[in-house]
């Protein structure tokens, strides 16, 4: 299938999928300029994401995955092209509007966790629940990722994987409409990785959270409704899974 053609609706296998796309990206490019050299991180992305969809984003390092995720999450703006969220054009929004969008709709898991070093696990989650409309309690979010015993530890007192789970708890705690995770299991062993994926999966099923996960682990792709592979700033392939594997059944 040519990468720029939208997938026919009947190809989508997800049971929770609805007809209206949550995101529509058209001709999105992102160019970084550092000194005299230009880096084309995205070279023209056309894409729809549907409500309740579970999407996995694959691709080699430097292919533009994080850049795309940042643009979808309103953290960054494309150099050209447009991104629509529901009925709104993200690219026409100013900083205040983007802030509002992130606050109301988006949950993030960053590739480098980005925890506040002077706050405990519980408080790091509270940073988000403090300003969310209908959040779960920080304790519940942490319990879901298996950190119920580590509520009052500081990031420096947690292992890399535990820090990553705090970051995930923080992103799901506000029950976002859109959950964007940049390598959420990168630092986790199989067992905890699966626990975390189960949490994400549950949120996706129960609340219909549109979920995009970046990963280098192709096994995880089996969980997705669709798998998008980026290469050198372009969509190299777009594949629909006839049936989603449950997180518990994954093996790597």
């Amino acid at each position: 299938m040519p990468p720029d053609a939208p997938p026919p609706p009947e190809d989508r296998a997800a049971s929770t999928a609805q007809a209206a796309p949550v995101f529509v990206a058209r001709g999105v490019t992102r160019t970084f300029r550092s000194g005299a050299t230009e880096v084309h991180a995205l070279r023209g992305i056309d894409l729809e994401l549907y409500a309740g969809e579970f999407v996995v984003l694959l691709g080699p390092s430097g292919s533009g995955k994080s850049t795309l995720l940042n643009i979808l999450g309103g953290l960054d703006v494309p150099t050209s092209g447009s991104v629509r969220f529901r009925d709104h054009d993200l690219t026409s929004w100013d900083d205040a509007a983007l802030t509002h969008y992130r606050r109301e709709h988006v949950g993030f898991v960053f590739q480098f966790y980005n925890l506040m070093p002077t706050l405990t696990a519980r408080e790091n989650v509270a940073v988000v629940t403090d300003i969310a409309r209908d959040p779960m309690s920080p304790e519940e979010a942490l319990r879901r990722v298996g950190l119920g015993d580590h509520l009052d530890r500081f990031p420096a007192e947690l292992s890399g994987g535990e820090q990553q789970r705090v970051a995930i708890a923080r992103s799901i705690a506000k029950r976002p409409d859109v959950l964007l995770c940049d390598e959420p299991t990168g630092a986790l062993d199989v067992k905890t990785g699966i626990t975390v994926l189960e949490v994400i999966e549950r949120l996706n099923r129960e609340l219909g959270t549109t979920t995009v996960i970046i990963t280098h682990n192709a096994v995880i792709a089996a969980m997705a409704d669709r798998v998008i592979t980026l290469s050198d700033g372009r969509i190299a392939s777009l594949q629909c899974n006839p049936a989603r594997a449950s997180a518990a059944s994954l093996v790597w």
Binding site: R102, R103, F110, M116, P155, Q163
Partner: protein
């Protein structure tokens, strides 16, 4: 509590030493501000109130002798609201148990009640009984210097006759808020005192019954003072009027006004500089602190925190620090202000000695520091908050690093790897290096500014008492006498050398400018009073023509070679244009000299002197005093030694205490800058340093890379700081200048040295603290928490 509030408290706890250092810097700025301004305000308020309440006259005139009926004619001058005639006479006082003689100025008060102008404020005792001729009131400063209380007796040689005086009360007068004798540079409350006596006995003692030799006048609001003075001059001229003058030439009023204007300059300039430095440091520190939290800010933004919310978070952080500093500073400033006000009370006598910190002062100190805090945060956070979060989350792009001179220059290649690393580090962040250098330099500059005033005082002392006024005693005769009298002075006990002088009250005029001063006629080879030029070298006395104080020449707008009109205000009152032969340096800015011969010729008199300067044997002082006390022809004696002592007392308590405060403050500021610079550099580079440690560098080597940077910046800061300090001192000297006083800029090398050493010490201490932190660096934690 919200998580963000929690973060605020945790961050404060982590950074508490830095927060305390900044708070202290702000406290120092605020303390100097509160101290100076509150003292200034309460002095200004008190002075104005006192002059008003006690009716300080607007015009003063001395004359030789006039009938008391002159008062009626003066009262008819348009604009005159009230007139009082008085008898004023100076006498030699002999106090029981005090070996040295003192000069008493006896001022008459009406026979009934108190004076209507220059109202006296009775502090102790009672008014003199009109019927008793020997009762007097003593000025409080004089009474305190001698421990006089009502009932004490003293002896005076009045018009050649010995009289016994009884102190019946202690009083204050608005004319003598600062008790200093005209022509003296510093007050000497032991040697000069004002006494008030009923008119009838005083006039009788000086053969001035129904007559007066002093007139004071209050004018109606809006009256033209120059016009009133001119008319009074015309009225009094036939009676030997010495020229009417206004408050600005009245010694006490002028001294208080000068002191207030200098205090005003200091009260604004130094604290403003301190506050600006504090604000700069706050900005520097916050900027870098916020830069180290760049990723955290981006994360907050990513979660949908608004700019306003993030700004408020950091604002709270800064304001807590600022508020703590401002509160501490206000308290310390008020406390120091009490001390300073007490000092002023010793020299300036006001009936109301109440000192308080005005709410306005405290509020403006708070306002200024809050403004500084808000501006600092606004400037520091603006850049970061504006960045798109995705961008801010990436570490700040390293500036494209080109080797530049560090690569191309051969000599760099010969440096040790450590030195090279240090230099590269500085070259990589030039703006940061410049700002840190500037911060440390400001520490040095503030130290210089805080302590150079003592150098200034030393120089003035040197100029005045060592270079110019080299005599031990100045002896004044009651009446001008033949030069032969000098022989008698030379024969007084202990006198080693004596030189005569002639002094006369004059008005100098050029164009529209006129000044009253006294013209001093000196021997051409005068060695005991030696005018010095602007560079401080003795000036050879010109064979003819005037030597004028530089400041006086400026006021009259006259240059050497040009002439001024000299009007003598005594005797036959001759007027003549005299050529200005040169200018001299003089602290009080009032000096005018002529050779004694030329002055005698001008006055159309023979070889006559008004008094003598004497060099004496200190061991025979007691005998000299005893002799002088019983010599009726001597009207007064001034002791240089005693003046120096009094001056030193004044300075050591006043200037030196101020200097100490300033030095303490400046050291704190210097320490605050250096410590913060070191700590922030550490937090910015902690990850890098931990990595170096992990790679295998020793603690010593790792510390060296950081401390090397701090040391290099300190070395760079030394010349910059010295230069800045010089500039600030120059600014201050300018601001201290009054109409008559001019100060040279003198900064002793030791002042620079102290400033530099203090800052170097602050650097060393900060480095040790930072070094300890590096040693205890938890490698794992640092590497892990690099978010």
């Amino acid at each position: 509590m919200t998580a963000l509030r929690q973060k605020l408290l945790r961050d404060l706890r982590v950074l508490w030493t830095q927060a305390v250092a900044i708070s202290l810097v702000i406290a120092c700025g605020v303390a100097t501000f509160v101290m100076s301004v509150s003292v200034l305000q309460s002095l200004e308020r008190r002075a104005a109130q006192y002059y008003e309440d006690a009716r300080l006259p607007h015009v003063f005139a001395h004359l030789k002798r006039a009938p008391v009926s002159i008062a009626r004619r003066v009262a008819e001058v348009p604009g005159v609201a009230a007139v009082e005639t008085r008898v004023v006479a100076e006498v030699t006082l002999d106090l029981p148990g005090v070996i040295e003689p003192a000069v008493g100025r006896l001022v008459s008060i009406p026979d009934r009640g108190g004076p209507s102008l220059s109202r006296l404020h009775l502090r102790q005792g009672r008014w003199p009984d009109p019927g008793r001729r020997s009762e007097v009131l003593a000025n409080e400063a004089f009474a305190e210097a001698h421990g006089l209380v009502p009932g004490d007796r003293l002896r005076a040689v009045m018009n050649g006759r010995r009289e016994q005086l009884i102190v019946v009360g202690i009083a204050l007068s608005p004319e003598y808020v600062y008790q200093i004798r005209g022509g003296d540079v510093v007050p000497d409350d032991r040697r000069f005192g004002v006494l008030w006596m009923r008119d009838r006995p005083l006039a009788a003692a000086f053969d001035l019954a129904n007559a007066c030799n002093d007139v004071v006048v209050a004018v109606t609001p809006g009256a033209s003072l120059p016009a009133v003075r001119a008319q009074i001059d015309v009225l009094l001229a036939p009676y030997g009027g010495r020229g009417a003058y206004g408050r600005e030439d009245q010694v006490s009023y002028r001294t208080v006004a000068n002191e207030l204007s200098q205090l005003r300059a200091m009260a604004l300039l130094v604290p403003v500089i301190f506050l600006l430095v504090a604000a700069f440091i706050l900005n520097l520190v916050l900027n870098r602190m916020i830069a180290t939290q760049r990723e955290q800010i981006a994360t907050l933004k990513a979660f949908g925190y608004r700019r306003r919310e993030i700004a408020a978070h950091y604002l709270q952080f800064a304001l807590l620090i600022v508020l703590a500093g401002a509160a501490l500073g206000t308290a310390v400033g008020a406390w120091l202000g009490t001390g300073l006000a007490d000092l002023y009370v010793r020299f300036f006598r006001f009936p109301d000695q109440h000192y308080s910190v005005g709410l306005g002062v405290a509020a403006s100190a708070l306002g200024i520091s809050l403004l500084a805090g808000v501006l600092s945060v606004a400037m520091a956070i603006r850049r970061v908050v504006r960045l798109a979060p995705a961008e801010a989350m990436r570490p700040e792009a390293p500036r494209p690093f080109r080797g530049g001179f560090l690569h191309s220059h051969g000599s760099v290649g010969r440096l040790s790897p450590l030195a090279r690393l240090t230099l590269r580090q500085i070259a990589r962040h030039p703006v940061r290096a410049v700002l840190s250098t500037l911060g440390i330099a400001l520490g040095i500059a503030v130290m210089v500014l805080g302590s150079f005033s003592a150098d200034l005082v030393d120089r003035i002392m040197e100029d005045h008492f060592e270079a110019t006024q080299r005599f031990d005693f100045s002896i004044g005769f009651i009446e001008p006498s033949d030069v032969g009298t000098l022989q008698a002075v030379a024969r007084l006990p202990g006198v080693l050398r004596a030189e005569g002088f002639r002094s006369v009250a004059v008005r100098l005029r050029r164009g529209s400018h006129a000044r009253l001063t006294s013209l001093l006629g000196l021997e051409a080879d005068s060695g005991l009073l030696r005018p010095i030029d602007v560079k401080g070298d003795p000036i050879p006395f010109p064979t003819s023509g005037l030597l004028l104080s530089e400041k006086l020449a400026q006021l009259l707008e006259v240059n050497p070679g040009q002439t001024v009109e000299v009007e003598v205000l005594e005797g036959a009152r001759p007027v003549r244009a005299l050529r200005v032969a040169g200018t001299v340096r003089d602290f009080a800015g009032q000096a005018a000299y002529l050779t004694r011969g030329e002055l005698n010729d001008f006055l159309r008199e023979g070889a006559v002197i008004s008094g003598a300067f004497a060099l004496t044997d200190p061991l025979r002082e007691a005998a000299l005093y005893a002799k002088i006390k019983e010599t009726p022809r001597i009207g007064g004696i001034t002791s240089t030694r005693s003046l120096i002592q009094s001056f030193k007392r004044l300075m050591s308590e006043n200037m030196l205490r101020m200097r100490l405060f300033n030095m303490i403050f400046a050291s704190i500021i210097a320490f605050g800058v250096v410590y913060n610079a070191a700590r922030i550099t550490l937090s910015e580079r902690a990850w890098e340093l931990a990595t170096l440690r992990v790679i295998g560098l020793s603690r010593r080597e790792v510390s060296a890379t950081l401390l090397g940077e701090i040391a290099a910046l300190t070395v760079l800061a030394i010349p910059v700081g010295a230069l800045l300090g010089n500039l600030l001192a120059r600014l201050t000297v300018r601001a201290l200048e009054t109409e008559t006083q001019h100060f040279p800029l003198v900064i002793d090398p030791s002042t620079y040295a102290t400033a530099i050493l203090t800052v170097v010490a602050a650097t060393v201490i900060s480095s040790l603290v930072v070094r300890r932190r590096i040693d205890r660096l938890d490698l794992v934690a640092v590497l892990k928490s690099h978010d």
